[in-house]
Structure formats: C-alpha cells, structure tokens
Symmetry: C2
Subunit: 419 residues, 2 copies
C-alpha cells in the first residue's frame, strides 16, 4: 500500500476496490468520517424498514400470532445458523441471544461443567490481563458464586500463554482481537496448545466477527461468543451470540436454564430438560425488534467475500499506520497495534499523551474514533463502508488537530462519563 501517498491515489484505490459497493448498503451521516464501527456499526439502509415492519405489522397487527406466523420462535436459531456459517462454524451451532457478558457466563459455566466431569482437579481459568474487562468480571462473578476453589490466572499475551497452561487449567477464555490494541491471537495455533494442555477454549469474537475471517471449525474452537453491534452492524445493543462445537452439544449444560432452552417449552413441565444443540443456550424471551435489525446486518455480512474483506481491512489499517508514521512523525504518537498483519484485527490504536483531548477535538472536526484508557486513540477501519480516501481525510484531520493544537481548547479537556 506504499503507493497510496496522495489523496488522488486513495481515490483511485477506492474506484478499484471490489467491495466498495457495499457502502451503498449503509446510511452514513453526511460529512462524517466514522471510525467507530468497532464500537457501534452504522445503520444498514434496509434496517429502518425492517424495524418498522416488525413494529407495525408483526407486533401491531399479527400480535401474539407472530410467534409462529413470523417465526419469532425460531429467530434466535435462524440468525444463529447464519452466524455459524459466517464464522466458519457450521459443524457447530450458534444462537443469537442475550448479551456477550451473559453468554460468557453460560459458555464458561458449561465448559467448567464438562471439565468438572472429565478433570475435576482442574480449577484454573486462564485469560488475558488486557482482555475486555467485562469478560474478566464475568469470570470473577462465576468464581465467587461457585465458591469452590476456582481461580483466574491472567497472562500478558501470546508470549506467556505456554507457561500458564498447566495441568490445573480447565478453561481458557481469550478475545480474538483485543479491544484496545487491535492485536489478534492465532486462534488455531493457540487452541491447539490449549487442547494439548487438556483445557477447553472459549473465544470472544466481539472485535473480529464481521471484521476478519473467523474459522471456528478449522481452529477447533470449543465455544465462542461475541456481539453483533460492532462490525456486524446489528444496531445499538443488538443481541449477542453463543456458538459451541458439535462435540459439546449433548454435554454442555447452560447454567442459565430458562424456558426457551427447554426441550418442550410449551408443555410447561415442572423440570428442566435441555433442548438439543445450541438452542439450550437460549434463556428468556428475546427483544424481537432489536433481533430484526440485527439480522439485516448479518445478512449483509454474509454476502461479503471474506478474503476480499480481509485484504481491504489490512490495506486500510496499513494505510492508516503508514500515513500517521510518514505525515505525523513530528507528533508523539506511538503505535499500539501490531505491524505484523497476521496479528492485527481491523482497528488501529495510537497512544498520545493528550489522547483524550485529541480525540474530542477530532470528533468535533468530523472524524469519529474513540478514546480508551490509558491515552489510547482508537480507530475502527470497517472495510464494508470505509474507503482509502476516508483514511486519508481522517489522518489529515488528525494532523490538523495536532499541528494547530486544536485539542488545547478548554472544552476538549472535560472528561465525560462516556466517550
């Protein structure tokens, strides 16, 4: 990508981009360069009509009949099948339901349950210190609840995972692409190590689903969870997903054993009998309007060639990094994201001593990224609707914010509760 040294070259690259046409499938605000699809993806153009249809026709007119007529009952499984296909996990099965945090709890509870039968002496859960905090919080909550000697062991990264995989490890919970640094784990290689050590692997795909090819079957993953409101453009707080390998489907017990995961939910039986497959990881009634918009985003993702998606994602992140390193070299920006393409997701992060204020100034100037503690400027480069010229313009705006010290304005120093 070193040939993209002018804006004109970027415009030409956009014209030659085989997946540029996907931009038309989304509604983006005029004049905004949105580099925060890694936090909340943009609106698919078809989503408003779908939301209106589920509100007005399915809810308003068909009412309770929608459970059958409009397939509400099968919706979490139907979307789950699509997600399993997208994530290279068709040998296993998924459901679209609840939140990532809650699905971490379910997957972890199920994996611990399997290990408690096979290897009851294994009581350690390994995760990454820099994992998205809620994953660690959910482990903490489960360990406290279990109250029988389970413990969390944290690693700093790929370099010390081997040392952590002792004979006491039951489960390893890792996030495929780190939310802050954008660093990607080698899912297949690390899963092989985890299995060799006798442990089970749960992968959190929040920052990879829809942004980078995922091959759950090929990687031999045990469980996976993730959200759909980032790169899958499912809408604000759209339900998450839980996937599990075929080999675990008969054994895995959902600790949150609710009616929708019951084998015969409408017999109103006194005792819980789990449904087959991934369906047992459903719990309670799901938000159908949010599920409906989510499916619009998932359907678009399924149309994209994953190799083309990955090629463009890397081209965009390479371009961003190169432009910052060549055109903003006089500013104290430190790359946090790996230069090695095999270790990179679809967002790039830089540290800057005044990171918070810089990001506020950048947003005020029409480039939306986000800020993450400590000092990190994070830019999501979602290949479905961003182009090379967008990257050029974003870096130029960042240059202006830094060259002209726009971030020094008092209004950019004030910390809000949410960035």
């Amino acid at each position: 990508m070193s040939e993209l040294t002018t804006r004109e070259a970027c415009v030409a690259a956009d014209a030659a981009d085989p997946i540029a046409h996907f931009r038309e499938r989304f509604t983006l605000p005029d004049g905004l360069i949105y580099l925060d699809g890694n936090s909340l993806g943009v609106l698919p153009a078809a989503a408003p009509a779908r939301a209106a249809d589920v509100v007005t026709r399915e809810w308003g007119t068909d009412l309770i009949g929608s459970w059958g007529k409009n397939d509400w009952f099968e919706t979490p499984v139907r979307i789950g099948e699509k997600l399993a296909r997208l994530l290279g996990g068709s040998e296993g099965a998924a459901v679209a339901t609840d939140t990532t945090s809650i699905n971490v709890f379910k997957a972890l509870g199920a994996a611990i349950g399997i290990q408690a039968e096979d290897h009851p002496e294994r009581r350690v859960i390994v995760s990454e210190r820099e994992n998205f905090p809620t994953d660690l919080y959910m482990v903490e909550g489960l360990i406290t609840l279990l109250d029988r000697g389970y413990e969390l062991r944290l690693v700093d990264g790929p370099d010390d995972i081997d040392a952590a995989l002792g004979e006491d490890v039951a489960v390893v919970l890792l996030t495929h692409v780190n939310y802050r640094t954008g660093r990607m784990w080698d899912m297949a290689g690390v899963t092989a190590k985890i299995h060799a050590a006798g442990a089970l692997a749960i992968w959190d795909l929040c920052h990879s689903a829809g942004a980078a090819p995922v091959e759950l079957d090929a990687a031999d993953a045990d469980f996976a969870v993730g959200c759909t409101y980032k790169y899958l453009n499912g809408g604000p707080g759209s339900p998450a997903f839980l996937w599990l390998a075929a080999r675990h489907q008969d054994r895995a017990q959902n600790p949150l054993s609710g009616w929708w995961g019951h084998n015969v939910p409408f017999e109103m039986a006194l005792n819980y009998t789990p449904s087959d497959g991934a369906r047992r990881f459903l719990v309670g009634t799901q938000p159908m309007i949010s599920l409906a918009t989510m499916e619009v985003g998932v359907d678009i993702a399924l149309e994209v060639d994953q190799a083309e998606l990955r090629a463009k994602s890397l081209a965009l992140t390479n371009l961003f990094i190169e432009l910052v390193q060549t055109r903003l070299a006089h500013h104290p920006l430190t790359l946090v994201t790996p230069l090695d393409e095999s270790e990179r997701g679809s967002h790039v992060s830089f540290r800057h001593p005044e990171g918070y204020a810089v990001m506020q100034a950048l947003i005020a100037n029409g480039v939306v990224g986000d800020y993450r503690e400590p000092e990190v400027l994070r830019f999501g480069l979602t290949p479905l609707y961003l182009g090379y010229a967008d990257v050029w313009d974003a870096v130029e705006t960042l240059r202006r914010v830094l060259d002209e010290e726009l971030w020094r304005a008092p209004e950019f120093q004030i910390r809000g509760a949410v960035t």
Copy 2:
C-alpha cells in the same frame, strides 16, 4: 356488575368508563378482540415513531454519540425509576434490563448470598409448583451450579405456605399472579410470613405489573422481577426489570457481574467493583430499540390511576365470569380463576375438555385468547384498551364456537409448536 345483562348495558358501561380514553393510545387491528395482552400487549400508537426515531436518528445519525447525547447509558436506570414508581417501590430501586429468567437468577443469587452471610444453614428455596416453569428452571440451574446442598421446595398454594416456611428456608420465590389460573397472592401478608420465618421474598410480577396495583414498599418485598411485554405493552421481548429494596442495595451481589454494573465502567479496571443501587444488576449492553418502545408503554401505564385500573379490571373479569356462567352454562366450562376478587389478577381461565381446539376456533373467529396446558382457555382482560362490549362480544363468540361446535373442524385439532 350483575346489571350488565345486555350488550346495550355493556356499551353504556363503556361510555361511562373513566379510563376508556386510554384505548386511543393503542393501535388495535380492526375486527379483532384481543384477549391476549397477558401474553403480548398491543402496540402503543406512539411506539412506531419512537422506534423509527431511535433507529434513524439515534443509531443512524448520532451513532456512538448516543450513549451520552441520547442518554443510552442512563436508559435502563431511567426506565427502572419509572417502573419502581409504578410498582409502589420508590423506596427501593429498579433497572430495566435483560429477561425475567435472567433477572430471577440474579435476584436469587443475590438473595442467597445475603442469607449465606446471615444464616448459612438455610439452604432451601421455596416456590410454587404451579409457578411459571422458567422461574423453577432458573432455580434448578442455580442449585445445580452451586452444588452445595441447596434444594427447591414446592408448595401447592397459599394453604400450605406456612408449613413450608421452616428454619431451613433461605428464599421464597413466588409469582404474584399465576400465569395459568390468574390467582393472586396476598403479597403483603405472605411477605410478612416469609420475613417472620427468617427468609427473603422475591416476587415475580410478570402477570401483575401494569394490570393490578402493586405496592412493593408497603408489602416490604425484598426483590421483584418481571417482564414488560405483557400488560406494560413494551413490545415483543422488551427487556424485563429487577427491583430490590433499599435495605439490600449495598449488600446484594449480582452473580452476573458485567461491565454495565461496574462502579466505574469506563476506567476498564481489572477487577469488578459493583455500582451503587440497582445499577449493579445491569450486566451487558442492552437492546436500545426494544428499550425505547418499552418506555412508551411504561409511560402510558404511569398515567393511569391504579385504583381506577383495578376497579375496571375486576369489573371486566367479573363480567366475563358471569356471562360465561349465565349464558354458557350448558357447556363443560370450569372456572379456574378465583371468584374472590382479592385473589384475582386481570385474566380469567376456564378449563374445557377440548380446550385446545376451542381456542383455535375462537381465534379463527376473531377472538384471540390463548391455550395453556392442561385444557385451559386463558383470557387476558387488559383494562387499558378493552371494554365491556368487547367482553360481551368475546363471550358471544365463544358461545357460538361451542353451540355450533365450530371447534370440531379438523384444522383446529392440529397441535402446533406454539399456541
């Protein structure tokens, strides 16, 4: 209500009904008598515009900025405050989040945790055999997960609750109004018994919130959960709620300890520190579109005088029962719902040996109720948008279905997965 012996008298009663005007706030399909608001409430007229606004403007235009600008971060707490007010629980606090099943798990986990500190020898959870099954399934899942001698003890009803409240009881989980029979527990009286026995009370309000006055503070309840898609007209699968008394807010630990319940969620701290109040019962990112339509329904509920609501609810259920008993006395319909008004919620149920087919025929003739095993015809009489003439017409249609044996048609015999 014995004076309502003609359709004309019912029409006159509608004209004199002080809350009849609320019907204008909802969109009901023409020609349909919807007696299933106890399963999925109808569409508030303002909901489509609100859904469109959150999709198009909040998501589409404001994007990630909506967390602050459109108050997404505070939405579950804001709606929770409204629900606490509606349910007479303003001394405590609530959040609108997740599903009833998951909130049962959280409340139960928290209540067990409190008791484990105060009375570690108490290991029994009491509930009702005829409780909505998912509540029992969630207890079962938690007990299995804990794996340290907790057990579920089931009672048949108010008559044997005293005998069940031994010194071994930690928590009692009851549903205020039974989903099948419509029988209502005396919340204040039973909570007093539960407390006298040294246990904590969790009330499931799925079939009472929005349908009957609830006084959580006055009843001295410990925890409450419930859904919002029935009598609160929040939309299909709209998020549920969890309420807890002020006295438990500093001690109650949410076993599902996710990021949104963290004290400083955006500091990305390594360890979980619970937020104050009910907020700690938030877990992961919530479906904002479904939350938005839900708030429309809750806002309407808050406008209704609860005494007028209750008076009309009882008048409607009395009328339905009387009309069935006087005009359909020649058919084998057995009332399941208590005749005593103090023990009745806002739906009425009758058993009929051919209940399933009768309900299908009734639906085909424009009266939507639902069927619940075994043999139960269930009719939700939601006072906000149903009138006396609706009840008259519904009973007349039921009479026609039975007199003309319309239920014998082959298509009404086929059991679907969902009714």
